[in-house]
């Protein structure tokens, strides 16, 4: 993040009108808080707080999942990357969406049927081991924090462009609003807030894009540059980079803690599948618009890429191409949508992290949940104000690589392979975390120019390595296959009876050992 507002030429005509920007931010924050407090009246028990009592309808739930998933990377980063690297960047929205397909195929229904609240709950139940639970919790918290930081960077960028205030104000505002909503209402109010924010984000991207297209077509404005022209002359990505990126995005989505916790709000396994199908539709519609933005930016405003403001493309394009009052109003809408993106993803992550931290450290009470929520929002704020942002979509891509190397193998093997043991799971997660985390740290030290391509996109080798270690170590420790295996596998894969009544999954209950 570049400090100050004077880092690129022509600042005054490229920023959004500050009064309009501030108004947009206030409206989104107040609306979020109001819907959050409305939910307060409904949620009463600990169960309500964590998973909205599992009674959220598929359409609501799907909108909420969409709202939560579409982060700063999707709202600002994708269009920015498309502006910079053209068709290569189109793999990002495709990967973000296809990740949900993988989630549907391999995880959605079994995970819902496991009956666990969080990923650590799942691994503990499946492998009957406290140690696995602790390692998973640690990984989940790291993933969540890594993912919140780019959201806060996006908020800092937006507040600087929209209002001219110092960047840290944006990050702090997001953390404050999120803490207030989460502490007040937990998951129930979050569901309403997130569902609202999906539709806000879609409107905020779609209306300006359509307006721009009609205006340009009406004026007969000629494109400044053809789409194929590369504003910065970046080299096209090789096959390795594209494949590695897709591995990270396809398999990283499986392990995102805020995505998984949403599946527990479905009443049963088949409604978890139906919800995912609706989510896929919502995501597909949404991603058409950042793509259109990126294409329009490449053709009509390639100078934004040259001034190092690619991530701000979505915020600046309406003002630059339309101008006047209409431009101001469209800018306000986009700023509101961007803020909705930071708020919804951050609050989803904070809820799931708070669930993990409060159950593991603070005893699982509602009070503990509230305290944990504040902790899980404050720590990444510290990181965000002290670090610089890379391209938003790029840094989120690395978080996906990390998740794909740690949580994804333990989930996939845990659900589908009877041979997984606690030792194998821990060894695999540690291997993935060390390799992928090491690649990320090396990349940060070497800088974007000095990082070799296989370190910049590590997923293609760290994910297979984590899987291999997990399988080999499990094979070597066959004696540790849990005695509860048969019961757990049956529970994961057999359909619920219609109108099933809720049964808490108790891993320790006695079952006959597998014969």
């Amino acid at each position: 993040m570049r400090p100050g507002t004077a880092t690129w030429p022509g600042t005054s005509d490229l920023t959004v009108n500050p009064a309009v920007g501030v108004a947009a931010l206030l409206v989104v924050s107040v609306a979020t808080a109001v819907i959050g407090f409305y939910g307060l009246r409904i949620s009463r028990t600990t169960g309500d707080f964590y998973v909205a009592s599992r009674t959220v309808r598929p359409w609501w739930n799907a909108s909420a999942i969409g709202g939560e998933y579409l982060s700063a990377a999707s709202f600002l980063g994708v269009a920015g990357l498309i502006l910079l690297s053209g068709t290569d960047a189109l793999w990002f929205p495709v990967g973000y969406t296809a990740g949900y397909l993988m989630l549907l195929l391999f995880v959605a229904a079994p995970l819902r049927r496991s009956g666990a609240y969080t990923i650590p709950d799942f691994t503990e139940a499946r492998l009957d081991s406290r140690a696995v639970r602790r390692v998973t919790s640690l990984v989940v918290v790291v993933v969540g924090w890594l993912y919140i930081v780019p959201q806060l960077h996006g908020a800092a960028l937006t507040i600087r462009i929209a209002t001219g205030l110092p960047p840290w104000v944006g990050s702090a505002a997001v953390v404050i609003v999120v803490c207030l909503t989460v502490v007040a209402g937990g998951m129930r109010s979050i569901t309403f807030v997130q569902a609202f924010q999906y539709w806000l984000k879609l409107t905020a991207l779609a209306v300006p894009v359509l307006f721009i297209l009609f205006t340009l077509a009406g004026n007969g404005t000629a494109a400044v540059a053809p789409a194929a022209v590369n504003p910065l002359g970046t080299a096209p990505a090789g096959a390795y980079q594209n494949i590695s990126l897709l591995v990270a995005l396809l398999f990283g989505t499986l392990g995102l803690p805020h995505v998984l916790v949403r599946f527990y709000t479905n009443p049963d396994g088949s409604s978890a599948r139906r919800t995912t199908l609706i989510v896929l539709g919502l995501l597909s519609v949404f991603y058409l618009f950042p793509t259109a933005y990126g294409l329009a930016g490449r053709m009509f405003a390639p100078d934004l890429a040259r001034s190092g403001q690619a991530d701000a493309l979505v915020l600046l394009l309406p003002g630059q191409l339309i101008g006047g009052t209409a431009g101001d109003l469209l800018s306000a809408l986009v700023v509101a949508g961007a803020f909705a993106a930071f708020l919804s993803t951050t609050s989803g992550l904070v809820v799931s992290l708070a669930g993990v931290i409060s159950q593991d450290v603070l005893g699982g009470s509602v009070r503990g949940f509230r305290l944990a929520a504040v902790i899980s929002a404050i720590v990444p704020l510290g990181f965000a104000v002290t670090t610089d942002s890379l391209a938003l979509a790029g840094s989120v891509g690395l978080v996906f690589a990390f998740t794909a190397s740690t949580v994804c193998p333990v989930l996939l093997l845990g659900i589908w392979w009877r041979g997984l043991t606690d030792t194998g799971a821990i060894a695999g997660m540690v291997t993935g975390a060390v390799l992928c985390g090491g690649a990320m740290v090396c990349g940060a030290f070497l800088g974007p120019a000095g990082t070799p391509f296989w370190l910049a996109q590590p997923a293609a080798w760290t994910v297979p390595a984590a899987f291999a270690v997990m399988i080999l170590v499990s094979r070597a420790t066959k004696a540790r296959i849990p005695r509860t295996l048969t019961r757990v596998m049956t529970r994961l894969h057999t359909p619920e009876r219609p109108l099933v009544t809720e049964q808490k999954f108790t891993p320790a209950s006695p079952t006959p050992p597998r014969t």
Binding site: T87, L90, W91, P93, V94, T97, A98, L101, M102, L104, L105, F106, A109, A227, A228, N242, L246, S270, R273, R274, T276, L277, L280, G281, S284, Y287, L288, T291, L295, W416, T486, R487, M489, T490, R491, H493, T494, P495, E496, R497, L499, V500, T501, Q503, T511, P512, T515
Partner: protein, 116 residues
């Protein structure tokens, strides 16, 4: 006079977990469960691999047919149209096919396990 609390009838007198317990305990039940898991895994793998092959075919197609990437439909280059919009229907279709077959697998399991 004694007051009783009137509630909606619980869905069934027998506990919800009964068939599951039965499925776990009998050897035949386990056979059905294992076959269900195998068919669901096979289905998921087939859909995943099929989708990835189609995904991989898109850039190969663009590279193999000269001039295709530059062709324009309504002013939008064809490669942008294909990668930026054309993949999403494939994703949706794969998901729909998967859900249909997975639900059918589960219905077959229900029939076999005697669960109505």
């Amino acid at each position: 006079m004694t007051r009783v609390r009137v509630t909606a009838p619980r869905s069934a007198p027998r506990p919800a977990g009964e068939t599951r317990e039965a499925a776990e305990e009998s050897e035949v039940g386990q056979l059905f469960v294992r076959s269900l898991i195998r068919s669901q895994l096979r289905l998921a793998l087939v859909v995943a691999v099929g989708f990835m092959l189609i995904l991989g075919a898109f850039p190969v197609l663009l590279a193999a047919v000269p001039g295709l990437a530059e062709a324009r439909i309504a002013g939008i280059p064809f490669d942008w149209l294909l990668l930026g919009a054309g993949i999403y229907p494939v994703i949706g279709l794969s998901a729909w096919l998967f859900i249909r077959t997975a639900t059918r697998n589960e219905a077959r399991y229900r029939d076999l396990a005697g669960d109505k």
